[in-house]
Amino acid sequence: MTTSAPVEPVLDADEIQGNVVPGFLKPHMALVALAIDDVAAAKRWLGDVADQLTTLRVAMVSREKVRAHRGFRAEKRLATLGEIPDGVDDAWVNLAVSRGALDRLLHGGRHAPAVAQFADAGFQHGLAARSSLLGDPVDSAADGNPRNWVIGGPDNEADVLLVFGADRAEECVRILEEIREAAVASGLRLLYEERGAKLDDIGSEHFGFQDGVSQPGVRGRYDDTPASFVTPHTIDPEDTPDAWLYGLPGQYLVWPGEFVFGYPKSAADPLMPGAINLPGPAWCRNGSYLVFRRLRQDVPAFRTFVEEQTRALNGEPGEPGEPGFAGVSTDWVGSRIVGRWKSGAPVSRVPDADDVNLGIDRYSNNDFGYAAPAKAPPLASGHAPDSYPEAPADPIGLTCPMGAHIRKVNTRETPNDLGGRRASFARRILRRALPFGPPLPDPPASDPALGDRGLLFVSYQASIADQFEFLCNSWMGSATNPRSPGGFDLFIGEDGAPGAGRERHATIFGQGAATATLTTTTDWVVPTGGGYFFSPSISALREVLAA
């Protein structure tokens, strides 16, 4: 019988870039994409910039301070929303390179054959070539087609991507300019530059929903002391096996090899480390794949859809609505599309109305499942279990529809089309996104951004094909998978099936298990750029790529 906690590996904190684990998660970010024209000059610059990259160890120091300052319970978080703790004023940068850049940098050297060893079809082909697999428009005239992207199309693919994160905008600009100027002075060519920032203290994206609520908890320690977990273990140690399964309540702990090369990936049993995941040359250890997608969000189109569907469900004046949906609000319809209310509160726990406290309470806003009734666990901190309504079992999606965004990308403990819970663990990604462009007022008076707003989506994973692409192609972009009855992820999924006319639909439930189908052919999330990259370890950057 399993009687002790699994031993989590010590991560190489001075080698892993900090945006991979634990993530910058700063209120300001920026991206700079560069092209390599002069390989020798680029190598010299890479060697120089390696010293400036923020590591896991550095990022972790600030992360611990922020956690201590903000806490996890709603009361403390409400009191500290948007605050930067004393002693924290960071301006960080990380770097990743494309497959094409690896080719050029390693050409003719002893590491040149290693490029082919990166066993990921997504990375090998690149985002532009894989775009149709994600469901992006194949019509070359469409905005979302790679030919029209501002970065990452067939004619403007980046070699190097710099990711910046900072607590203050001016510091973000300062470090960006400093490093960009050095890069350009070294002969790299600037292809693209864009800044992103939190729109509000709660971390909403442009459609108005809190983003990044449910991140997988990465197993691993940042030094060899027993409790130096990169993901806080918050459940009472006596409450096993839950104390070993979760970081925050409801946040499954996932073995680090799903995100960082060279560590155990998931086994069938979540308490057991899987095989070491090293799907590339030995020097890819402590590296990760980075996916960047510049996603434009058509806010008026989304709002209009939600309003129209709400009216249709309620019935136009003088006409009957859909049985079982009388009185639903736009917020209610939006919550069924996302699976959370705008604050982040899960509909599984509060099906009828938003609850801001629950939305920002990190002990509680992920503490729910779908297969069985959830019960708030005892906490290691001594905090009382929460008093929010507990989530009942919802295997059919009566409350949180199968097509809801959060249920599409994280099936939690329920079975899915690839099997059991372990199949979901192997699909998780670490999201590091922030919005770009100013928020659109509601109602919109004028729009100085001319509709160009959206999300600078960045994710880290050990397989682009099996994780990021799988989520887009096989779950968000599927009417049936991972579970039925569901429909598409109307929030950000695409329907790229040939002959389907990009139609997306999803089933939601009202009172008395009444059903309604929401249907659209409008893409309110349109890819307008991006790229696939490899985020190397610090030593691989110095000793292989820059050598």
Partner: protein, 443 residues
Amino acid sequence: MHAIPGALESWSAAVSGWFDESIAQEIARLDGQPCQYYNQLETPPVGPVLDQDIVWAGFSGTLRNRWGRTEALRKADRLFPLTERIDGPGSYFVGPQWQSLYYRPQDEYCEWHVTRDRDGTITRVTFTSEPPEYWQALHGDTLATLEGVPKYQTAGDPKLVLRLYRELVSPHVQYEDLICTEDLVDHSDPQNPQIVYTRGSYNPYNKWNTTHGIVHLTEPANSLGAEIKLGADASVLFSPAAGQAPLADPDALIACGAYGGLNRCSDPTIGGSINELAALGFAITIKNPVGLYMDHLDMTGWAQPDGTPVDPAWFRVVRGAPGLVERAVFEVPEGKGFRVGDLTIGGEPIVWGGQLSEHMTMKIIGSASQPGHFRNTPLRCEKGVCAEQGNPAFLHYRPLGSACGAGLLPAFDYAPPASPALAAETQAVAAPSRPRHHVLRSR
């Protein structure tokens, strides 16, 4: 089947019989508690019925979990002799006859056959999800109980079987090719050899369904009886210890309930989905017509040589209906100037049939009624499991209370410790459980 007098009725009687057998087996272990699984032919549902599509991927999770995707794709397209299992060491049947009888190692109730040009390029991929029992019934054989005892006489027509084979596979099919020319005997127990297929009966492993083509499922676990029994087993609640809540994690659940392939996509999700409904007190069955179906093939990102999308009409339903597909063919129409192997998926050339099946969605439809009607107490686990030390993603069953053998580690081991005496007595090996087989006897 409609064209044969009495065939539909006898098929229905066999399917109904398998439900009854499954229910009887559950009742026997439920120790006085009611069975939540019902036979809709005999027990009309009470109140509104809620149908739930249960979906899974067509490519073998067993192969992928055991060997990784690259090797799994390679293995999936070849035939295995029935003396070689894909889910662990051992043999489905023992004896020299079985060494030259083959099955497709595709264990998600979805099988495919790849046709290639002389240069090895794929020209056609033919899919099936038809169970072998249906073809045994078309032939008019006696279908067996879940325990392998001949029982259900069917009204078939061997001429129809021959005609369909010629239509579906080749005009060169001869009737003699389709039947057993001798008794096929399993010597797993040397003291008690068992006739599995008798001389003159339909041979599910005939060459036109294996080496030369495809008509129906061949992987020994891919049977309709197995699906019906899986549904019954999954309607039972399990927990590792008294007083604990029923298991909900589908991986831990199948490890405990031992109702199917641990490493597949299908069985954990079918079992888990049904069990979720059982935990809510529903009465459960499989929607009529009871079958295993292909739902659709997702061709998003599939491209012709010029980069334009493939035509979805190249996936052609041959038997069944859209959403309830039993047989389908994917091929490029003549005259296009290129073949299936010239197409790409996300830029990757199609070189294995399994690349297509990765995008196949399979389904059965569960029906549930009377929520909250049942409040059964969970049963204790039927088995334990071990993970391979070198590949902890791959699981094997072990007898309950026994230790794992060499090279294996206990997994999902959340139950109370077994009796030390019992553990010492029964050292487990990595031997998988035997498939349930529907033994065919001569008519």
